[in-house]
């Protein structure tokens, strides 16, 4: 791929490329400093936007900001739910301003689990083969907690069908997963920007959900 990635950058960040397109983009990012820098900027924006609450700001800041940036720039609104970012490099600067303003306004809405800002320098630890983290935000973890509580309640009603040894095995497995969750959270507290650690936490939470779902489903189906 000789030309710059352009609008493909947002697809890269969103993990929407596959097959040859993803491979070509990955190769280009390893050799093109400009695209890599833009990609890293987009990734930082995407990660911060993921941590934001979905409720709209009290007032729309964009018109005032847009009036102060260069004429002719195309404004692409940030979609509230998906927040797919499709911005050119000049637009990134404007979007960063918007996000900073939104972040400041939303700070009180976020809990202690929200990821801290990413340093301005250094590569964001990401591979295109992996989607950006989505569940380490406060909302994500709260959703997991609620789902896990629901499944634990559902399993409790089914557990009389399971023999004591199996119930004990399930409890031990859940305890192992809880240990992994605690380790990931402790590591994230020291390095909140680590994509790997965010993914670790996400996978551990997913794993707990899957175990609860599987056991409940098998208890019902058998």
């Amino acid at each position: 791929m000789d030309t710059h990635l352009g609008e493909l950058l947002s697809a890269c960040v969103d993990g929407e490329l596959s097959g040859e397109a993803r491979d070509a983009a990955e190769r280009h990012l390893t050799s093109c400093a400009e695209c890599r820098a833009a990609y890293d900027d987009l990734l930082r924006l995407a990660r911060r936007s993921e941590a934001l609450d979905d409720r709209p700001p009290a007032r729309d800041l964009w018109p005032g900001i847009a009036a102060r940036i260069s004429a002719g720039a195309t404004v692409i609104p940030l979609v509230t739910r998906r927040r797919r970012l499709a911005l050119s490099v000049p637009q990134l600067a404007a979007a960063a301003v918007v996000l900073m303003a939104l972040s400041a306004g939303s700070a009180t809405l976020l809990t202690h689990r929200a990821p801290a800002p990413v340093p301005a320098t250094g590569f964001a630890p990401v591979s295109l083969a992996e989607p950006i983290p989505r569940s380490a935000s406060a909302k994500g973890v709260e959703s997991y907690d609620a789902a896990i509580r629901d499944l634990e309640a559902a399993l409790a009603t089914r557990s009389p069908r399971l023999d004591p040894a199996t119930i004990q095995a399930v409890k031990q497995s859940l305890a192992l997963i809880d240990g992994a969750i605690r380790q990931a959270e402790a590591a994230l507290a020291r390095d909140p920007n680590s994509l790997y650690l965010n993914n670790q936490l996400e996978r551990a939470l997913d794993r707990k959900l899957e175990v609860l779902r599987s056991v409940t489903a098998l208890a019902v189906a058998s």
């Binding site: 990012l29 192992l176 599987s214």
Partner: protein, 297 residues
């Protein structure tokens, strides 16, 4: 489906006329090609084997449970009904080769051999063993070991607290457990994934061009032994573990390290994607045939 519960069962087992709660069952049902077999609610044992006849032969030896059979030429369904939550049944089933199997057990070891069709086998408290499958194969247990050999197709294999083993697989594999080890030996697929929370993960098999391979454990070791030439972008991540590679880890320009203990490097043509992660265990990338090393080395 046309129920033939009592008639077939009682006639075959010479139980008293009218008796519905057959303690035993020994019957043969004629089926057409491609007929499915389903078995539910078993505590005891389940053995399924194959023959080259258009018939299914069902033998059940029950102890305190009732056995129900519904059959049509295209579908045979057997159910074990416990009394007050108790009662075991030992099943020996013989089906035409290639029969799709669906078995859900409460507390039973399930073993299938030589059937070589699609299979969906699950046991809550018991092991699951399949020898020969084709197409979609799903094997699952809560507290038992799960073992698959000679599968051609898509294999999903998982346990919660047992070992997971797959050997001689041609096709994609998704394997997982919480505790216990995951072993994928001679697996030949384009998309192979394994996850464990506390167990070790081992893989041996070819790494195909354009393939995707991901092996992740939280607390266990991850050992990957590619067969033949290896051409892949390799992503390695750990938090407090170690990494050992038989290939030089030449970091891609501008590509790594991508985190405090994350590396990305290219081997050969880089056409495949190989992801290796262990939060606190050791990651081994070995040339084919190298024995996995554990412990302090």
């Amino acid at each position: 489906m046309k129920p033939i519960v009592a008639a077939v069962a009682i006639a075959a087992t010479a139980l008293a006329p009218g008796a519905l709660a057959a303690q035993s069952l020994d019957t043969t049902v004629a089926v057409r090609s491609g007929a499915r077999f389903e078995l539910r609610g078993v505590s005891g044992t389940v053995r399924v084997q194959s023959w080259n006849r258009p018939q299914m032969h069902i033998v059940a030896e029950a102890d305190g449970a009732r056995v129900e059979l519904d059959a049509s030429p295209g579908d045979v369904s057997v159910r074990a009904v416990q009394r007050r939550g108790e009662g075991d049944v030992d099943f020996t089933i013989t089906v035409p080769a290639g029969t799709p199997l669906e078995v859900g057990a409460i507390s039973a070891d399930i073993e299938t051999s030589g059937v070589c069709g699609e299979a969906n086998l699950s046991s809550i408290s018991g092991g699951v063993t399949l020898r020969c499958g084709n197409g979609d194969v799903h094997l699952e247990s809560v507290s038992g070991d799960v073992d698959a050999t000679q599968v051609r197709g898509h294999l999903e294999i998982k346990s919660i607290s047992g070992d997971v083993t797959a050997q001689q697989v041609q096709g994609d594999v998704a394997a997982s457990n919480v505790s216990g080890d995951v072993s994928l030996d001679r697996v030949d697929g384009d998309d192979v994934r394994a996850e464990s929370v506390s167990g070790d993960i081992g893989f041996s098999g070819p790494i195909h061009q354009g393939g995707r391979y991901a092996f992740r454990s939280h607390g266990g070791d991850v050992t990957v032994r590619p067969d033949g030439e290896l051409g892949a972008i390799v992503s390695v991540s750990t938090f407090s573990g170690d990494v050992e590679s038989d290939w030089p880890m030449t970091i891609n320009p501008g590509g790594g390290p991508v985190g405090p203990r994350q590396w990305e490097f290219t081997i050969g043509d880089g056409s495949a994607r190989l992801t290796l992660e262990s939060f606190s265990g050791t990651i081994y990338l070995r040339r084919g045939g190298a024995a996995p090393r554990r412990g302090n080395d």
